[in-house]
Symmetry: C2
Subunit: 339 residues, 2 copies
């Protein structure tokens, strides 16, 4: 072998060596992607399959149901879809805890409804106070402070308060299988939004840490806020006046206002999500609509048509008629909550 | 030289060779980054320097004014900040063009104000009709159709309509130097938002194509919308009722509602932007506030304290008092519009 030959081998052989290495690496990475189950807490079944089939095709240019990256908007209800909502919406427990904390400064609450009922722990009496009573509770606990003060109050509560029967932090009652769906969608270029009847500024305090959803992707109900200069310093004040209820018809309206595009995927669990699912399902192009059905009375709660909270009736009928995916929590989910 | 020596050189020499190549490449790329002016349409001066200094430090971990990626929110007024706004807001010309188009179906407009004034091309008479007249114009031209129908109407207009004096498409009247700022911020991990008194659904039609700002990052004034099923098909209807005016105090309120974080950078041009700039300037941590001052009567328009459109008075005083950056369009910008 001459010196010339060696140099020739060295120079040209170098490129194929790198090319082969890169090719092997690419194949390995691809195999890993296919081998890893993106939804490990889901049992095999039609619900899991419908989600995976949708995402795998949506991300693959050339696939029949491919979706352009900018259109990959997925919306999720929160209460009953991303975390539990029984025996009442968790935000209501926040309000009750606030009333108990504030009671010393409000001796009149000992005899004034619905505050008396809250202090007596009489949930049924609170319910009897109706919408008017609820608004009084919201006004007393959610208004009259700046947005930053409110965020601090919610933050302290969510870090410490325990669920009345499960005796764990509320953030421990998020659904592990849905956290996996959120991650899986984001890993494939979807923007994940929360679209909930819950308070927008309440959820934003923990949505990023708990769900990986940043504040600007959290949409919810709101009260009126007002910009003010306090001794030259700007603040935004929370007023005791309803601004918007992000439920039922309000959900597509809010999606249109906040996002300005139709979602391609929507996840809900109750009749309050029906219109959001309809709005998603009837877009031009592929879509995925998923309804979480609370069927597990042992590990979580079992409820649908007769429930005051998270009533599921019309949306279930619509799901059957329109071939939306229905998650049977009892059989579809290996675990409910994170370990 | 023996064969052994040659093999030794070949095997081991390969790695340093690649390493050196990568190192050289890295240095080249870095030099290019520094050598390329991110704002080529800006003349050197305090305005340009303030923007570049802010961004270069914001993106550099360890720099005194470093900003975490999730906090890199920049907000931009639209009319007078990203595109021209004279002799009237461009959306008003859209409304006037609509009225002229619809006039055949509305013979009553020949004698009914403010429509008669619009059809006569009498801008002063339109202005005299005040807020009430303006609302009639908005109701007639912006409401009574679905959101999708409205988007189609705006799309057709923006693609064809010409500015009354400049005789070019309205989208040709965007500011080249500001397009560079938008790109520069995004290239450094900033999320760019429009926060404008203009109609949210009007701007969303072209903001992505023209500014690179997606619909979900466009915030503006709105009318009430309503979800309806039309023969089973969901639509969102635009109603003839004001929902929200995204101007002055409304801007920080809308920023808080839509984004849920305080911006770190804000760009405006009029007193309508003052509160947004105040809200940004008083966050905890570094911020950049920039005011575009219309000083170029030859290439664009020169106006400030005496102008009905884009009046700039209090915000200019605030800029001087708070050391915000003021752009002198005449001296700071090499070009106004894209080539």
């Amino acid at each position: 072998m001459t010196e010339h030959q060696h140099q020739f081998d060295g120079n040209v052989g170098q490129k194929p060596w790198i090319t082969v290495l890169l090719a092997v690496l690419a194949v390995c990475l691809q195999s890993t992607a296919f081998a890893t189950d993106p939804l490990p807490s889901w049992n095999d079944g039609s619900a899991k399959t419908s989600i995976i089939d949708f995402v795998e095709c949506a991300k693959s240019d050339g696939c029949e149901k491919y979706i352009a990256p900018e259109d990959r908007i997925a919306v999720f209800d929160n209460d009953g879809t991303l975390w539990s909502e029984q025996p009442a919406y968790f935000q209501l427990f926040f309000a009750f805890d606030r009333i108990r904390e504030m009671a010393d400064d409000h001796p009149e609450w000992q005899s004034e409804q619905p505050f008396k009922a809250v202090l007596d722990g009489n949930l049924e009496e609170v319910a009897r106070s109706g919408k008017e009573g609820l608004l009084k509770i919201v006004a007393a606990t959610h208004a009259g402070m700046t947005t930053e003060e409110f965020a601090t109050i919610v933050h302290e509560w969510i870090e410490t308060a325990k669920h009345p029967t499960k005796k764990v932090l509320y953030t421990e009652l998020v659904y592990q299988p849905m956290l996996e769906v959120l991650d899986y969608l984001r890993a494939n270029g979807f923007k994940t939004y929360i679209v909930s009847g819950g308070g927008i500024e309440f959820m934003r305090v923990f949505a990023e840490r708990v769900y990986g959803v940043p504040p600007e992707q959290v949409i919810g109900s709101s009260i009126v806020t007002e910009f003010q200069l306090r001794e030259g310093k700007p603040v935004i004040l929370r007023k005791a006046k309803l601004d918007f209820i992000d439920d039922k018809d309000g959900k597509p309206v809010a999606i249109n206002k906040f996002i300005g595009r139709r979602p391609v995927a929507a996840f809900g669990n109750s009749d309050g999500d029906l219109q959001m699912l309809q709005w998603t399902a009837t877009r031009t192009g592929p879509s995925l609509c998923v309804l979480v059905h609370h069927t597990d009375g042992t590990r979580e709660w079992a409820y649908d048509i007769d429930s005051h909270i998270g009533r599921l009736d019309k949306a279930l009928t619509a799901a059957q008629e329109n071939d939306w995916s229905v998650v049977d929590m009892k059989s579809d989910w290996k675990v409910i909550y994170p370990d």
